[in-house]
Amino acid sequence: MEYRFLPKKGIAPFVTGLLKDFKVYGPVEKDGFPMYGEITSPKDIHLSHAPTHLSPKQFLFPPKETILRFKNGAKPALEPVIEAHNQALFGIHSCDIHAIKLLDRVFSYGPRDVNYLKRRDKTVIIGIDCVPDKYCFCKSVNTMTVDSGFDLFLHDVGSGFVVEVGTQTGKNLLYKNAKTKKATMKEIKKIKEIRDKKAEMFVTKLNAEASTLPLIYSGSYNSPVWEKIGKICYGCGSCNNVCPTCYCFDVRDEIKTNLTEGERFRVWDACTLEDFAKVAGGHNFRKTRAERLRHRFNRKFQYLADKFGGLFCVGCGRCIRTCLVNINIAEVTNELIEEANKDRS
């Protein structure tokens, strides 16, 4: 583990350097809110440390992505489309780095998804420390800190950034584009101090150890909480779409007006939408909003933990912020924890 010190004024030249080799995406401001967007000059960057409304998964798993091109007719043809370019994700928070590590697992498990993996391979990740807002609960799901999955990680220690080097690629980029010096023990110590302070800042918390959550969820299938939240849920898919670990997609064809050529593309799909589990014959395996929400919450805390290992909720709080009817994944989980505790006593 290598720690370098980068003065605050070193950020701009560093980003300018990155821009020579990469498309850079990072925190920008949109309508006064923190978002991830393309950065064309260091001036675009808004290092606000506040969580963004949408997750950076869009740069690895775009909302709409062509996967094949086809041609019908006398000489039918089908060719794969894999679009990937060098890109740097700048200013990614630890929860989102954890999320990307989970997506890496999903898309490389079993038959490997080249479209994702190739893009991932051409991506460098530069993390940054953040400050939790009222919806964040990463501490409760052990994603407040991250020790791998990034190429560089910036710790704001007041006087400048302590840059944690995660990979050789990251190191090369840092040495090439910034004047840094070896971080002092005092500066490195500051990381822990700030981290400890951050740990005290959470308003949203889960009332049980993260490791117990899969079991709590497996016992909660018949909880009245599902009907309760199902009643107010829109089934709008917003929680899925803002989630950094939701990866479900639909596949559709688009044919040109010559009716012979076209593309097959995939688009984000969401398990809370009405037709998600409906088969061609008409049967819907999760007909009610309550069933679909239960499926979504269980995916985060139980189902995918069984399949891929690790909770798929990284505590980013985005689904809480986005939900117009105030369905709060942390509150729901706490209700289930309480029910479980009652059952035990």
């Binding site: 094949l68 060098n86 080249v114 479209n115 088969v279 014959g281």
Partner: protein, 333 residues
């Protein structure tokens, strides 16, 4: 100062050891085993110091799993109003290489792609059969195709029936509607080695007489292959002289040796619950019952999420399951 230094050193050491542990963990090993050519470095932060990641070229070369193979329709047979049987061959003359119960992803570009179970028995010829009901855009388009038309196939996917395990057993097949389609692949496989199996029965329930699939084959199986076939129609029809009632009504009078019978059930979602209860009455172990589950599928690769039942992806771990493995899997049946 020196004590602080030591403290930080131990802290860093601890972090490093945690990382190393993670690297060695089972999951990572498994993942490396799964990868074909080179290990996918990005899954860990472990990148050899001397070997910077070359970002302009890819470190691995695998083809898109969404690409299909071109195939040609050799024959179309109209089975009923809604179902047709397509005999298909790959342009490259290769075999499909499936086992009974598996499915393929069929594409007609512009109309989409859908999972279709293979209806023929594995063979060395380069053709295979798909029996398709016209229910949506893709299947309607398929019904408009004729001999010589081309389409795209990828697969086979999923886990089929455990053919070897069935040897020496009495077999009871229970099919509802188009559930006979994937089952036919298994039945024909079994009948091709008829002496290796005990008694074989088929209970087949359909809505009306004109929906009976593979009529000729059913009577052939009954007459020449010493297989007992019972068909039932949901509701009485004037010209129908056979059984009426849902398929479960055929079960109570059946004499089954529960110690050596394996049951294979394929039908619409609503059928399973009742058939399973009736089989319980017959004291058949959940371990000896196999069923094939239908779900929406968009990728066939365990990615798109549509076929997921709890932590199971039907396209990868199914569609054929042993009942005892999924009886307690909520939402499965």
């Amino acid at each position: 100062m020196s004590s602080l230094k030591r403290q930080i050193k131990t802290e860093v050491k601890k972090m490093r050891s945690i990382e190393m542990q993670k690297l060695r963990s089972y999951e990572d090993k498994k993942m490396r085993r799964n990868s074909t050519s080179q290990p996918l470095n990005l899954l860990t932060s472990e990148i050899p110091a001397s070997q910077p990641r070359n970002l302009s070229t890819s470190i691995f070369d695998i083809s898109s799993p969404y690409i299909s193979r071109l195939a040609k329709i050799e024959r179309v047979a109209r089975l009923t109003e809604k179902e047709r049987l397509f005999t298909i061959a790959f342009e490259d003359k290769k075999t499909l290489g499936h086992s009974p119960g598996q499915f393929i992803m069929l594409s007609i570009p512009g109309y989409g792609e859908a999972p279709i179970s293979v209806s023929s028995t594995p063979n060395k010829r380069n053709t295979f059969e798909l029996c398709v009901r016209a229910v949506g855009n893709l299947t309607n388009a398929l019904h408009n195709l004729t001999k010589g038309d081309r389409l795209w196939i990828r697969g086979p996917y999923g886990k089929g029936f455990p053919v070897e395990e069935l040897k020496g057993k009495d077999l009871l097949f229970i099919a509802g509607g188009i559930g006979l389609v994937p089952m036919r692949s298994l039945i024909k496989t079994v009948l091709s080695e008829r002496p290796s199996y005990g008694k074989i029965k088929l209970l087949y329930g359909v809505k009306s007489p004109d929906e009976i699939l593979f009529k000729d084959e059913l009577s052939e199986w009954q007459q020449t292959a010493s297989m007992n076939v019972s068909i039932t129609i949901d509701k009485p029809y004037p010209e129908w002289k056979g059984n009426t009632g849902v398929v479960t009504t055929l079960l109570p009078p059946l004499k089954i040796d529960e110690t050596k019978t394996v049951v294979i059930v394929v039908g619409p979602p609503v059928m399973y619950k009742y058939v399973i209860m009736s089989l319980g009455d017959k004291r058949i172990a959940g371990h000896d019952i196999y069923l094939s589950l239908e779900r929406r599928m968009k990728c066939g690769l365990g990615k798109c999420g549509h076929c997921q039942i709890n932590s199971i992806y039907v396209c990868q771990e199914g569609p054929v399951f042993r009942l005892s493995d999924i009886r307690y899997l909520r939402e499965a049946i």
